[in-house]
Symmetry: C2
Subunit: 362 residues, 2 copies
């Protein structure tokens, strides 16, 4: 088992990473928490059906009341209605300020359960137990949120978990689409921080269904380390943390415009990264081997073009509702070189014409 420490201003906590480690989760919890009054497992239908009973059984070894709240799988569970229902469940079951929430699932469950933990009685501890590759990113750093019909992740908080328990066994039952979605964030961590990591990924990983256990552990650890370094410097996204948004300006807009769930987060981000690379080449007048990256993305299975009927103006309107939009200027993360991201503001018109150009030529 590997242990990576996440250091933030408000809390430091470990990521436990390994294969099969959730079978002794009771011991891991004892390392990071006093005995809680109750444990609330929040999870989704898919994860519960696969692993719910097993986790309940392990946690019951702590001799604590273990409650389970199962939400439907998918982004729609990051709604106000589900959030409110979770809080009601917690109150009805007499949870108190010494209870703990275990977020057992992917990014949706982590975000929802984290926001419940952040706001229940003004904040109680929570533990992230990610079951997806994408969650190597979302589970680290304490960003939790739910969606509003006017935008994704608009309502939320910074609430650091007490620990992240990352058992790669859970990834074995992940659909291919989900693995690819998570892999996009791994690639992103390379682009913004570590050129040799990108090069190694491009050399070693050509087909996601051929990844070895060793490769999986390697790039998850690497991805977490990049994320940890960034949030250690900037917990609340006032500066450097914004670079984690590489590929996300267009990515979020695509997700919103297509309707959440119609495109995976990672696919949208991958498409956004290609656009950001293409804009970076034009802005800084240097090559990022755009065509090579595009071919690699195609091989991995990422979408490398926007759909034909996608309207750049509609996408720009989505971007204007993004949290990173300030004073009505849209700020994109570009690369001066691989590992050296910068924030660059664009006005509406410039970005529309760039999108139109990329759509036909990129």
């Amino acid at each position: 088992m590997k242990q990576i420490m996440i250091q933030t201003k408000s809390r430091s906590y470990p990521v436990f990473l390994g294969s099969g480690i959730s079978s002794h989760m009771d011991d891991l919890l004892k390392q990071v928490l006093e005995k809680p009054s109750k444990i609330l497992i929040m999870t989704d239908r898919t994860v519960y059906d696969l692993y719910g009973n097993k986790l309940e059984k392990v946690l019951k070894k702590l001799n604590v009341d273990v409650l389970t709240y199962v939400v439907p799988s998918g982004e729609a569970s990051k709604s106000f209605e589900t959030y409110y229902a979770c809080l009601t469940f917690a109150l009805e079951n007499n949870m108190d300020r010494e209870s703990v929430v275990v977020a057992f699932g992917g990014g949706v469950v982590g975000d929802l359960a984290g926001f419940v933990a952040a706001t229940f009685m003004r904040g109680i501890p929570f533990i992230q137990v990610p079951t997806t590759l994408l969650a190597h990113d979302s589970a680290v750093g304490g960003k939790v949120a739910i969606n509003h019909p006017l935008g994704k992740n608009m309502i939320g908080a910074f609430h650091q978990p007490h620990a992240i328990i990352y058992d790669t066994e859970f990834l074995k039952t992940l659909p291919q689409l989900e693995v690819r979605s998570g892999f996009a964030e791994v690639v992103k961590h390379g682009f913004i921080q570590d050129k040799s990591f990108v090069e190694q990924l491009m050399a070693d990983i050509r087909h996601l269904d051929e990844i070895t256990d060793q490769q999986l552990l390697w790039f998850i650890q690497k991805g977490i380390e990049v994320k940890a370094a960034v949030v250690a410097e900037d917990e609340k996204e006032t500066g450097k943390r914004a670079f984690l948004n590489f590929g996300h300006t267009l990515g979020h807009a695509l997700e919103a415009e297509l309707g959440y769930g119609k495109i995976s987060h990672g696919d949208a981000v991958a498409c956004g990264m290609l656009f950001a690379l293409w804009v970076s080449e034009r802005t800084f007048n240097r090559s990022f081997h755009y065509e090579t990256v595009k071919k690699w993305f195609e091989q991995i299975g990422f979408p490398v073009k926007m759909e034909e009927n996608m309207d750049p103006k509609a996408l720009i309107n989505r971007m204007k509702h993004d949290k990173k939009t300030l004073h009505n200027q849209i700020r994109m993360v570009l690369l001066e070189e691989i590992g050296k991201p910068v924030l660059k503001p664009f006005n509406r018109e410039t970005l529309i014409s760039l999108l139109n150009e990329w759509k036909t030529e990129g």
Copy 2:
């Protein structure tokens, strides 16, 4: 104008206190904030009708978009529905992470607006502009929350404001009941921290309609200083801050059992403080001049007895839903002496019989 600094682990900020100071609020804001992208004034109907236009006018001097969102007056506005409506309004009006919320009103508005600011795009700055005496307490310390049908303040956060601008002119239009409600928290601050302050209050303040401007400024400042000292030591209520709950165990239960708004918060707390004093005398076998305090409370106008038909068992059930309840034990703040509070756990049966006894003999 007086200035009291509030120091917490997450932020330090000033309380500006004085008569008429809101007329140069534009200058005060410049001292604590960069120029915001937009200002959202959140207020209630009563305050808006009295002072809304005036405040809008002052803030517009900053050359910033000033939006106003008016909620109905009263505790019912600390609901999920109102909270959600505020967030929708903020998004529809393109507020962003450099916007600021001004909470203009009493405790209800401060709590609601504070929770909106705490969770909008994971947290934006806010300014407390209290208009009640009670808010000398609630505006200091960063506790913000909304209610759930199963309990008051169950959903919330710790989110410190960037400043508190306390203009005592606003208190002039306050109904007597509201002044009394706020005065209860002033008295509480005396009991938990400062014996001579209590003695001076008992000697000088006999009728709330005869308070001079000087007395008002004196005891508001004193109350804020006590609160500031407590939150400086314990921002997140893991220890000493729980003492601020003196009188609140029974107080909150009375409010909940009677239905919010049927008894003022301060009246309920005053009644709860009397009970806590009475229990303290029995627990520590010493006199707190219970009868003298009771007479003084009567003179001020506080209720000094529970209503005849109030059922102690029902009150205990309310207490068990209180956030301070841990592992099913109800913890009351008692006094070893004035200025020396302690937390004492009680089981259900003991507390029921104490309540029954106090109801007939206290």
